[in-house]
Symmetry: C2
Subunit: 354 residues, 2 copies
C-alpha cells in the first residue's frame, strides 16, 4: 500500500496553498517521545536568554496568587500551532505525504480513478509531474484520501501509516521529529495548571490519531481543520460516523481564533506559532487582559533543522512563512521570537544519544 515515490520535492507552493484550504498534518506513534515525564529542571533543553525568560516570567506571573496578573487555574489555556511549531514541517507537511501515500489504496477501492487525473499522475511516481499538480488537483487528493471512510477506519489507517512512514532526511518516523524544547514548554505549562491545546491548520482527525501519545494532548484538546461527519447504521444496526467532504472549519489564519472560539470558548493566555497562519491566533491571544505570552518559532538553524522564510533571506517556500511583516508585528506587539539556533540546546530528543 505504501507507494515508494518521494514527495520531498513536490511543489511546496501549491501544496501549501492547498493546505490553507484543507488540512496539513502528520505524525507517528512512537511512544519514546510520548508524554515525556516532567523533567526535574523545567525547560532543560533551552538556553538561557530572553525567550526562556519570557516563559518563566509568564508562568510566575499567572500562577502566583500574590501577582496582579494571577490567572485562576480554570482560565489557564495555552494553544500551540503544530507544523513548524511543534514538529518539522519542511520540506513538506507530513499529512500531505500521508495523502499521497494513500492514493494507491483509494484507487484500489475505485479502480476507474486509475486513469483519472490527478490520481494517474500520483500513481506514476513521476516526481516532476507530481510537483506540478495544481491546487485544485491537490484538493481532490486530500478529499479523496481523507473522507469517505468511517472515522474508525480513518484512525486505524492513520495510525498504521504513522508507525511505518519515515522522514527522508532523518530516516525516522515523523513523530520523532518533535521539537523537544516545545514539548518541555507544554509539560511545564501543564505542570502549572494550564490546559494545552494544539490549534493546527492540519486535519483534526489526523492529529488526534497521535496527539495523546506524542504530545500528551488528548483528542478533545486538538483543534484543527475539520470536515463534517455523517451518522448512519451498518447492516447489523450498529451506528457509525462517515467522514464527509464538507469543510466545517479551515483552521488557518483567521480560522484559528474562530476555531478556538468554536471548540474552546475561551481566549488563550498563551499562544505559540511560527508563521503568518498563526498571526490572528497570536493577535487574539494578545488582545485579552492581564498576562499574555505570544511566541513565534523562527527556523534559523540550517544545520540542525532548516532555515527558511523571507526573514532568513531565503526564498519564500510557503512553508511556515515568517515574513518581515510578521517580524515587525511581533516587535510592535511584544511577541517573543524563539531562535531555534540560539535558544534551543537541542532540537530533537534523539540528539541526546548522538
Amino acid at each position: 500500500m505504501q507507494s515508494d515515490h518521494s514527495s520531498s520535492d513536490i511543489s511546496r507552493r501549491a501544496i501549501i496553498s492547498t493546505i490553507a484550504l484543507l488540512p496539513a498534518l502528520s505524525g507517528t506513534l512512537l511512544s519514546t517521545l510520548a508524554q515525556a515525564q516532567t523533567s526535574e529542571v523545567p525547560l532543560a533543553s533551552w538556553n538561557d536568554g530572553p525567550a526562556k525568560q519570557a516563559i518563566l516570567d509568564f508562568v510566575r506571573a499567572t500562577t502566583d496568587q500574590a501577582s496582579a496578573k494571577f490567572v485562576p487555574p480554570e482560565d489557564r489555556i495555552a494553544t500551540f500551532d503544530q507544523d513548524g511549531t511543534l514538529w518539522v514541517e519542511h520540506p513538506i507537511y507530513s499529512q500531505v505525504v500521508y495523502c499521497l501515500d494513500r492514493v494507491p489504496a483509494v484507487v484500489e477501492t475505485d479502480p476507474k480513478l486509475k486513469d483519472v487525473e490527478p490520481f494517474k499522475t500520483v500513481l506514476s511516481g513521476n516526481r516532476e509531474a507530481i510537483a506540478k499538480l495544481s491546487l485544485h488537483d491537490l484538493e481532490k487528493i486530500l478529499f479523496a484520501t481523507l473522507t469517505g471512510m468511517s472515522v474508525d477506519d480513518f484512525e486505524a489507517e492513520a495510525k498504521k501509516w504513522l508507525t511505518s512512514a519515515k522522514d527522508e532526511r532523518w530516516k525516522r518516523p515523523y513523530t520523532e521529529l518533535i521539537y523537544q524544547p516545545m514539548l518541555e514548554v507544554m509539560q511545564y505549562l501543564r505542570s502549572n495548571g494550564f490546559k494545552t491545546y494544539i490549534v493546527t491548520g492540519g486535519g483534526q482527525d489526523f492529529v488526534r490519531a497521535y496527539s495523546e501519545q506524542v504530545y500528551g494532548v488528548p483528542p478533545e484538546q486538538v483543534v484543527g481543520t475539520a470536515a463534517g461527519t455523517k451518522y448512519g447504521y451498518r447492516k447489523d444496526g450498529r451506528p457509525f460516523l462517515t467522514k464527509e467532504p464538507k469543510l466545517l472549519l479551515n483552521d488557518n489564519d483567521a480560522g484559528k481564533p474562530e476555531g478556538i472560539h468554536l471548540m474552546i470558548g475561551r481566549r488563550p493566555h498563551a499562544a505559540f506559532g511560527n508563521s503568518t497562519g498563526d498571526r490572528e491566533m497570536l493577535e487574539y491571544t494578545g488582545a485579552g487582559d492581564g498576562a499574555r505570552l505570544m511566541m513565534l518559532v523562527l527556523h534559523d538553524d540550517a544545520k540542525r533543522e532548516y532555515a527558511y522564510g523571507p526573514a532568513q533571506g531565503l526564498p519564500d517556500t510557503k512553508v511556515g512563512t515568517f515574513t518581515q511583516e510578521l517580524l515587525d508585528e511581533a516587535k510592535k506587539s511584544g511577541w517573543s521570537v524563539i531562535s531555534m539556533k540560539n535558544d534551543w540546546k537541542r532540537i530533537f530528543k534523539f540528539e541526546q544519544n548522538t
Copy 2:
C-alpha cells in the same frame, strides 16, 4: 429591555421545530447552585432503585482496576443533554424566551424592523399572534437575536438576562430550575475521574455563559448548536469575533454524535438524555465496547415538575418528546429510564427549604 409578554403559551410545536434547526438554551447565573460541593453521600437526592443502582454499578465497573470493564481515566467521558435532562424545558425552552426578550433591543438598533414581521408581532405583545408565528418567522428571530454582535457582547447580554429573567411558575431565575439529582450525577462522575460534557441542542455560546457556575462544566466542555464567527478588527486595531448567521453544527438528533466527534473526538462511556433528540447520542455511546451507561429522564411528575409526552398518555407537546418507540428502543438496548416521580427524592435544590 425586558419585554413583559409571557411566552409560556407560544406555539410549542413551531418553536421546538425551529430549535431542531437552531439553538434552544437557557439559564441564570445564580451561584447558589454552582458547582455544588461533592456531598458526603453520593446521589443523596436519589431514591434507591434500578436507576440509582445503574449509576453506582457503572462507576464501580469503570473505576475498579480489577474490573474487566475498567476504563482508564483519560477515556472517561460522560455527555449530558441539557433541556429536560439537566433543567426544566417545559413549557418553553428558556433560550427561546431569551430571544423573544431580545427583540426590542434588536429593533432599537435597527428601527426599520419595527414594522417588519415577525418583529412587529413580537413587539405587539399579543400572545395569540406570537403563538402563531411560523417556523420561518422564528428562525428569523433566532438569527436576529443570536448573531450580528461580538461574542463578548453576546456573553454580557446573556449573563445580564440570566440574572434578571424569571420562570413564570416558580418565579425563580431559570438557572435555579436545575435538577439536583442530575447535578449529583455530574459531581459523582467527576469525583470518579470522568470529564462531564453538556451536549445540547441549545446554542453553544448561550449555555457557555453559565455552564461553569451552574453545572461546574467549563465552556470547552459545552457542545451545542453552533454558528460560525468572523474575525475582524475594531477601529483601534483590537481584534474581535462577530457571531455570524451561518450554522456550523445543528446539535440535535444525528448532530449529537457528529458534534461529539467534532468537539470531543472520543466516544462517551455514559450519556444522558430525555427525548428522541438524544436517541443517536445514546446509540452511539452504547455502540462502544466495555461498560456503557445510557439513561433517559422521564417527565412523569406533574406535581413537582411536569408530566408530558406520548409515553405519559399526554398530548405530544414536542418538548422533549419521549415516544413509545424511544421507550421500546431503551428496553431493547438496555438503557435505563429515570422516573422523576419515583427515582428522585427532590427535584430542585430549593425544595430543601420548603
